[in-house]
Structures are given as structure tokens and as C-alpha cells.
Assembly symmetry: C2
Homo-oligomer: 349 residues x 2
DNA sequence: ATGAAAGCGCTAACAA
DNA sequence: TTGTTAGCGCTTTCAT
């Protein structure tokens, strides 16, 4: 094994310097592309570069980080990488980051505020140059603090009222409003709202949209129609089971689901109990998925994914890192889009 | 902002030592839980601990890493985090890792061998204590090399013939054999095989299973029935479109798909062209998904996910790290399971 | 155009 | 029981 992969951990700039009879400084400069700037002779530059390549030198990130107090690494904190919406986001950010020679340190917060806080601390200890986070959203102090400490923070998906951290969010309110208006236009008045984590901005916004739609149509909001408490599959399944049990009494005709995993849970429960969409019950869901159109009943969804969201988040963070953010670009709101398929029955017909 | 979050980056053990008039060593020892061992007085221990907490001290990972040449971090290289199979794996590994106070450094290789190599190098520079990788699978030298250099490597999902790197794989051969036998039992003889990346072990194994099933039933293998070249959605879509165009000629009656994303692509193509499953075409696919049962035609699948796979991978890596692997646990093969639903038509009936 | 040396924060061998 | 000190690999100031 003396192949090109033989990357000896002992190859340091010191080693190269000694081998070549050149100073450590010069080696460092050349290897950082500072050769010309320091007018190091072309010959020396070449020599150093070649030797480094031949020995398969690669810098020790720890030494570098310790010295520079930064890491060319960006922290990414997501609630659940298993949720394709976040997975796509992660992939997008990673691809962009690679282009710019940044690495990504990924943490799952699992929608647990303690883990989120721990992760922030962890990332700071790793001296990440910045953090992109889809926060649980119930507390913000640790985020503000990190930002003040000099670790730029960009929020994604969820934001905090009255906080001036830069963020990219979806137009959850509008999306929800549109979806529920569509349900109402189709004659639905008893609409169950399957929510995610109560108190998060996403959830707040979507509920607000739901309520606004009701209000616009003079339908009274019934708290009993608000169901569930997280964005997971089980949550949708359990809540749906409950809904089904009481459906004769409640006369619910439609479900508005706030997330793709919730929706899958609902679908499973409905299927088990032989309830057909849209004939027995209508359904509209947040989060367009590759399979939305391929389900037993093609699903009407609110799409709020944007191919470039990773790109945008990274750009925003970079701007923040270089302190060249101007107020107007500190907030980006992604448009949502209602995709109509066959999962809502027209009750007016 | 003088809250508990006021974590001053300048709080080092040196700082604490000076403030307390104690040596740096003692502080280091106490903060590493070595106080009792060095018989440092209870009072001092308490004092140091309290001060550290009060100042919200947290160690500089770079200094630590530089000194110790390790990082309490594990590298995870996955082809595509967007593929739920890998996402679940990542989540499982991360959860386990957190319990053991390891961090996860995640890299997407995007099924690109250059990125995979870069990632290995990167992770080594980060002095990760070990690497868990689902390799592209076409080259192994860089993996062997990393392992020899002292960075333990555990392979997951795909392995290499004749290499003694520890690995966890699925029983792809058996799974494929069973699925194809099932198709044949249902009277299918012209079975299109939609493959992923040619040459990867997963792919090799699944093709081998496919061929074996044919052979067992004295059906001649037709290379023209082997389609596609990666595990993505587009691949499935494009190959399916081609298949549809020639279906009158080829008389293909069933598709065996090697991955969930391929399958979604197939489903989309079929839907666009109005081809119904299983009446016009039968389909069976690797990778059980939450939605498999909820598709327009509930999909028969080969499930090869195991809830504990992350756990197992981490355990294996840890064993490797502590050199206490014994031969018999160096390879784990996950059982696959055929889940029969409605996507295969019985041609015999 | 090139180099010496200090120091980033930490651990551990050695001293006392 | 506690402290002194060298050194991990790197960048950068200051000298030459």
C-alpha cells in the first residue's frame, strides 16, 4: 500500500519544510496560495507544491482551527432528517457548501429543545463559522446568544416573532389560508385541523391561516377540531383513529393536515378502517412529495419546497458571516403553492 | 444577556486556573473527572466544578483534538440522505451516538466516487474516531487505506468481495431471489430488472438473485431486460418510459425494481401513460416505505430495513475502535422480507 | 524573498 | 496532592 491513498498522518508542513530545507513559514504560505503574494520564487513554490502532493499532505483541521478560531464548517440543525422536506433541504445546503469548500456538521434535534441547545453548544465548541437551523421554535434565547457571540445564525422553516435573526420561511399562513378556502369552496364546514408541534411558528402560522379561512367564511372556530401535537406519522395515525371513532357525532367532512408524515399516518388509519378519500372524507395536506400523485387517491397538497432553498440559506449565512447583510434581504418568504388533485370532494355538487 | 447562555469563548482552563490560583493541570484533571483519581481535595474539586459551570466553560474541541489526535466524532458517509432508507439509518446512528457522547459528521457522497474519496480525506483530517460508510462500491482502496491508517471503517449496505472490512449488509441476494421467484410463480417470464448503480455490491447481489430465480425456473436471462443505471427517481422514470414504448414488442409483463426512488419514477411514468398496475404490468420493488401500502396499487416490496441497524453499525464500529472485534461478529447480514400486496398479477389464473 | 518564534487551548509525562 | 512544562500543527508578526 504505497498508493496515492497512502496519506501519512505524519506529513505536516514541518515535515515538508525539514525535508526540503525550507522554513515552515514558506511551506505554509505556499500551501495556502500565498506564495506569489510573498514573492516566493516560482521554483520554490513548485517544489513545495509538488512535494505536498506527492506526500499527499493535507492540513490538520484542528491545528488550523485552534489557530484561526474558525473551521470552514457550517452547523446544520434539523428536527428530523427522516422527513424528506428536511432531507432535501440538507442535501441542497450540503451541495452548495461543498462548492464553497465548507463542510456541514449535521445535528438532528429530534424536536427536543434540550438536544437543540446541546447542539448549539456543540457546534460553537467546534467553532463552526455559522449555523443554519430549523428551530423547534419554542425558545430562542440560545440562538440569539450564539448570534451575539459571533456565530451567525440563519433560521429556516420556522422563525420567531419580534426577533431580528435572518430567516427563510415558507408562506405558511397564505398556504394554509388557500388550502382551507379551497376546502370551504368545496362545501366543507367541519374541517379537522391536524397540527404539528404547538407553539412553533410553522404551526402558529398554519393555524392562523386555518382560522382566517374559517372567519372569512363566517364559520365558527371549534377548538375540538384541532388535533395532534407533533409532526410525526404516529401522531397522524392516532389522531385519525380518534377522529374516525367519533365521526358520526362530529360530522367532520375534511382534514387539513400540517405535514407529510402526519398525512401518511392519517392515510394508514383511514385505510385500516375502510374510509375512502374523498368520498367518505376529504383530505388536503402540507408538503408536496414525490409520491403525492401516486397515492391511492392522488393527494391535493400545499407545496412549499423550493429547489434553491439550500442555496439561499447558505448565501444568507455567508452574507451574515461577512457582515454584509442589508435589512431587506434578511427575510425571505418562500411562496407556497396549492396543488389540486383528487382528495377533496365537492360537497356542493 | 448575562444569562446561562452567556458562554464566553474566552473561558479556558487557563483562565479558570488563574482566577482560582490553581494550576492548569488540576483544572484539566478535575474537569475531566480525574479529580478523585489524582486525590485532589474535595474542596478544590467542588470549587473548580462550580466555577466552570458558573462561567459556562466548555472545552475547545480543537485544542483537545490536536492534543489527543481524536475527536469523539464519527464520520458517516451516505450516498443520498434524501433516500429515506439512508435517512432512517442516519437517524438511528445519530441517536445511538448521542447516547455515547459521540458526534456525527455527515457527508453525502451523492454516489460520486470523487466526493466519497474527498469525504474520507476530510473525515481523516477531522480525526474522526471512526467512519461508517455506505460506499459507492466501485473502489475500496481508499477505505482499506483509511482503516490501515488507524481510522476504523464499517461498511453498511454495500460490501466488497474479498475484503475483510467489517460490514452490515442486507440479504440482497435472497431478497431478490424470493421476489423474482414470486413473480415467476405468478406466471411472469419476461421480467424487466430496473437496476441501480452497476457494479455496487447491492446491485450485483440483486441481479444475481434475479438471475438465479430465472435459472431455477429455466428462463433464459435476457440482457436487454436489464435497465437503468442508478438509484434515483429520474432513472426509474426514463427507463420506464423506454420500456413502455417497446412493450408491445418486448412483451414484458413485470418489473423488478431495485430501489424505492426508482420505483417512484416508474410509477410516475406508468401513470402518465395510463398503464395500470397490476393489470397492464406487474411491479415489485426493493425498499419498504411508509407509503408502500398507500399507493394507488398497494405495492409488494422487499423490506430490508431493521430498526436497529444504526445501533448495530455503531456497536460494530466501537468494537472495531477498541480492537475487540472477533471474527464472528465482523459481518452482519440483515434478513430481508417479502411483503406481498397487490402489485403483481397472477398470470396463471 | 525567506525565516524564527510565539502562541492558539489542551493533556500528560515528569517533578516535587 | 499539586504544579511545571513540552508539544500537538498551524498561522502570523516581526526580523532580516
Amino acid at each position: 500500500m504505497s498508493s496515492i491513498f497512502m496519506q501519512n498522518k505524519n506529513v505536516t508542513i514541518k515535515f515538508i519544510a525539514k525535508k526540503l530545507g525550507i522554513s515552515i513559514t514558506s511551506v505554509s504560505r505556499v500551501l495556502n496560495g500565498l506564495g506569489p503574494q510573498y514573492r516566493i520564487s516560482h521554483k520554490t513554490i513548485e517544489l513545495i507544491t509538488n512535494t505536498a502532493t506527492k506526500l499527499n499532505y493535507s492540513p490538520n483541521n484542528f491545528a488550523k482551527g485552534l489557530r484561526l478560531k474558525k473551521s470552514s464548517t457550517i452547523g446544520l440543525i434539523l428536527p428530523d432528517i427522516t422527513n424528506t422536506w428536511f432531507a432535501q433541504l440538507a442535501l441542497g445546503i450540503e451541495k452548495e457548501a461543498r462548492k464553497l469548500h465548507y463542510n456541514i456538521f449535521l445535528c438532528n434535534s429530534n424536536d427536543d429543545i434540550r438536544i437543540e441547545k446541546k447542539s448549539i453548544e456543540l457546534l460553537q465548541n467546534w467553532m463552526v463559522d455559522g449555523i443554519i437551523i430549523a428551530p423547534i421554535g419554542l425558545e430562542a434565547e440560545h440562538l440569539v446568544s450564539a448570534s451575539k457571540k459571533g456565530t451567525p445564525v440563519v433560521l429556516i422553516d420556522r422563525f420567531f416573532e419580534g426577533l431580528d435573526l435572518p430567516c427563510i420561511t415558507s408562506n405558511d399562513f397564505e398556504g394554509s389560508l388557500e388550502a382551507n378556502q379551497y376546502l370551504i369552496d368545496n362545501g366543507h364546514k367541519k374541517i379537522a385541523c391536524f397540527q404539528g408541534i404547538s407553539g412553533t411558528s410553522t404551526n402558529n402560522q398554519r393555524i392562523a391561516g386555518y382560522k382566517k379561512a374559517l372567519k372569512n367564511n363566517k364559520i365558527l372556530f371549534d377548538p375540538a377540531l384541532l388535533m395532534g401535537d407533533n409532526f410525526g406519522f404516529d401522531n397522524g395515525y392516532i389522531a385519525a383513529k380518534k377522529l374516525i371513532k367519533n365521526i358520526k357525532k362530529t360530522k367532520i367532512t375534511a382534514i387539513f393536515s400540517m405535514g407529510n408524515q402526519i398525512t401518511l399516518g392519517i392515510l394508514k388509519a383511514l385505510k385500516e378502517d375502510g374510509i375512502k378519500i374523498p368520498n367518505d372524507l376529504s383530505l388536503i395536506s402540507f408538503d408536496e412529495q414525490l409520491y403525492s400523485d401516486l397515492l391511492f387517491t392522488p393527494l391535493s397538497t400545499v407545496s412549499h419546497m423550493n429547489e434553491n432553498i439550500g442555496d439561499m440559506a447558505l448565501k444568507m449565512l455567508l452574507a451574515e458571516m461577512h457582515k454584509k447583510t442589508n435589512a431587506k434581504q434578511k427575510n425571505i418568504v418562500l411562496k407556497s403553492k396549492l396543488i389540486i388533485r383528487d382528495s377533496v370532494k365537492n360537497l356542493n355538487a
